[in-house]
């Protein structure tokens, strides 16, 4: 029995959540092999081989893998899966797009978004936007599992020296063509891994007012999040959305500003270590999960917040 982990990368670097997925994979079985599929992805393969938990790296390199099209990836992994009991990947948009294609081809019921490995066939996963936790056992011989990255610590990233084996690429699936990717680049920490997240909701009123949030984020080295309402209204782009249909974040500190606290939003942040809510409505549901609630108008509170932070001698980064 061994586990095949699908690495997520950009052909050069591993995406940070690959390290969390490796941890989860190693809790299923100690014999973890990783597959990296891409174009000229030697560097990513090398980083993967340096993870001490990885016993072997399989590299599949071809031009049609450059843009991570699931229709091209799935057949390669299905073929490799012959030798493995489990196929594991992160439950972010990459893994969500890819894994069900693999599971269907293997005729196995996928287990999505696990937050805990109970045994090699039994897992814990949230359902109904995190309002219930289900313990589920897979009776399929091959198991396809996606993991919620924020529920597992990243693995050690250096010191390993796994062998890198090359595998034959598959054929190109001709019916899907990648056109472009618009990545929003920023110098801020990534939302999914940031130590501090400050999020704005509909209460921000417009995109311009997000400046109030940005200046505090700069001070705290925080990532910026948002509610779906704020994204829908066009205040900020979709990659910032936190919640059931956005990203799940588990920072040490989550600050919700002008966010009411709908269950779909809570689903994405309520596991945060410390939650702060700033809202002018004392009855807002967000206060029920907040460790520190401040009932105030955000347009007064945020400038004061910045002022108070400026008074501090040191701020953790």
């Amino acid at each position: 029995m061994s586990v095949l982990l699908i690495a997520e990368h950009n052909n050069k670097e591993l995406r940070p959540f690959t390290l969390n997925a490796v941890t989860a994979a190693s809790q299923i079985d100690g014999d973890v092999h990783a597959v990296v599929i891409g174009q000229n992805c030697d560097e990513a393969a090398k980083s993967l081989s340096e993870l001490p938990l990885i016993k072997k790296v399989i590299q599949v390199d071809a031009p049609h893998y450059q843009n991570f099209v699931a229709e091209n990836f799935a057949p390669v992994i299905v073929k490799l899966a012959e030798n493995y009991s489990h196929v594991v990947c992160s439950a972010n948009t990459f893994g969500k797009n890819l894994m069900p294609r693999i599971a269907a081809a293997l005729d196995t019921s996928q287990i999505s978004d696990i937050i805990k490995v109970i045994s090699p066939d039994t897992f814990l996963r949230p359902i109904y936007a995190g309002n219930a936790f289900a313990t589920v056992k897979s009776n399929d011989t091959k198991k396809c599992v996606t993991i919620r990255p924020t529920s597992f610590d990243p693995c050690e990233s250096l010191g390993g020296s796994a062998a890198i084996e090359k595998a034959e690429p598959g054929e190109e699936f001709g019916h899907t063509k990648f056109i472009k990717r618009e990545e929003i680049k920023s110098d801020r920490p990534e939302l999914g891994t940031a130590r501090v997240v400050i999020s704005g909701g509909r209460g921000m009123q417009n995109g311009d007012n997000f400046k109030l949030i940005t200046s505090i984020a700069d001070k705290l080295n925080a990532a910026i999040g948002a509610s779906r309402a704020a994204v829908d209204a066009g205040y900020i782009s979709n990659d910032h959305q936190v919640g059931q249909t956005g990203k799940v974040v588990v920072p040490d500190l989550y600050i919700a500003v002008g966010i009411s606290g709908a269950i779909q939003h809570l689903a994405g942040m309520k596991e945060s270590k410390v939650i702060v809510a700033i809202n002018k409505d004392g009855e807002a549901p967000i206060f029920s999960v907040a460790d520190y609630g401040l009932e105030a108008d955000l347009f007064e509170a945020l400038p004061q917040f910045l002022e108070e932070l400026n008074k501090l001698n040191t701020i953790q980064k």
Partner: protein, 249 residues
């Protein structure tokens, strides 16, 4: 062009879901049920394409117990032409749903299948991708914009890093995000008209698909509760608490 749309009946998103005392699942008796929200976007998009003269027929299909008929009826009330209900009892996992949908696709031969990007009850986010694997069709998941270009679709997808645009050949599967469009409300006359539209009823067993679950549900529990917090009276107090008590800044 024919568009098939999969609609699922789920607990309404406004309901505070409760875990059953015997830990076998969540309470569904006397709970308001609705169409899975992104499935409304899927229907809306299909109907808009038809209204633009680019599709000839929109078919809504649901898999589930008898009552899922309401979900199909609602799709008919906002513009789908006819419905299909595949009756199945108990837990139908995404793999089984996609196999049943595959049978319907083979029968109806649609050019496009639209579905929601995830069901808000089980949050599996699998069915569309599984169906496209079974059919060996291209997939465009998490779609926030769809443009029809002859025998192709250009789709903008919401991904973690931002947006991605792909072009896929028809026939294809699209899974829809809530931002794809603004679903319309059914007007009373249209609700009345929908009552006359046909809904074909099939049984899952007649389609020759084994729907028995592969996943055993051991138990369903309440998530751990957060400790109640406190209200602070000023920003200064908040910052002081974050610094000295919570030690997070």
């Amino acid at each position: 062009m024919k568009i098939l749309v999969a609609v699922k009946r789920v607990i309404d998103y406004n309901v505070q879901v409760r875990v059953k005392e015997d830990n076998t699942g969540v309470v569904t008796d006397n709970v308001k049920m609705s169409t899975n929200p992104p499935d409304d976007n899927a229907i809306e998009e299909a109907v808009k394409i038809k209204e633009a003269g680019k599709a000839t027929e929109v078919i809504a299909v649901s898999i589930g117990e008898e009552k899922s008929q309401e979900t199909v009826r609602k799709a008919l009330a906002v513009g789908a032409d006819r419905g299909i209900l595949v009756k199945a009892e108990g837990i139908i996992e995404p793999l089984a749903v996609s196999k049943l949908l595959q049978k319907i696709v083979e029968k109806e031969k649609p050019d496009l299948v639209f579905m929601g990007k995830q069901a808000i009850d089980d949050d599996c986010n699998q069915t569309g991708q599984m169906l496209s694997a079974l059919l060996n069709w291209p997939q465009a998941t998490f779609a926030s914009k769809i443009e029809i270009k002859d025998k192709k679709l250009e789709v903008t997808r919401e991904i973690d890093e931002g947006l991605e645009t792909i072009e896929i050949n028809i026939p294809a599967i699209v899974t829809c995000d809530l931002r794809l469009n603004e679903p319309r409300y059914a007007s009373l006359p249209n609700i009345m008209k929908a009552k006359k539209k046909p809904i074909e009823q099939l049984n899952a067993s007649d389609l020759g698909v084994d729907t028995s679950p592969r996943i055993e549900q051991i138990k369903v529990e309440e998530p751990p509760k957060r400790k109640a917090g406190i209200k602070v009276s000023s920003v200064a107090e908040l910052v002081q608490k974050l610094k000295n008590e919570a030690k997070v800044i």
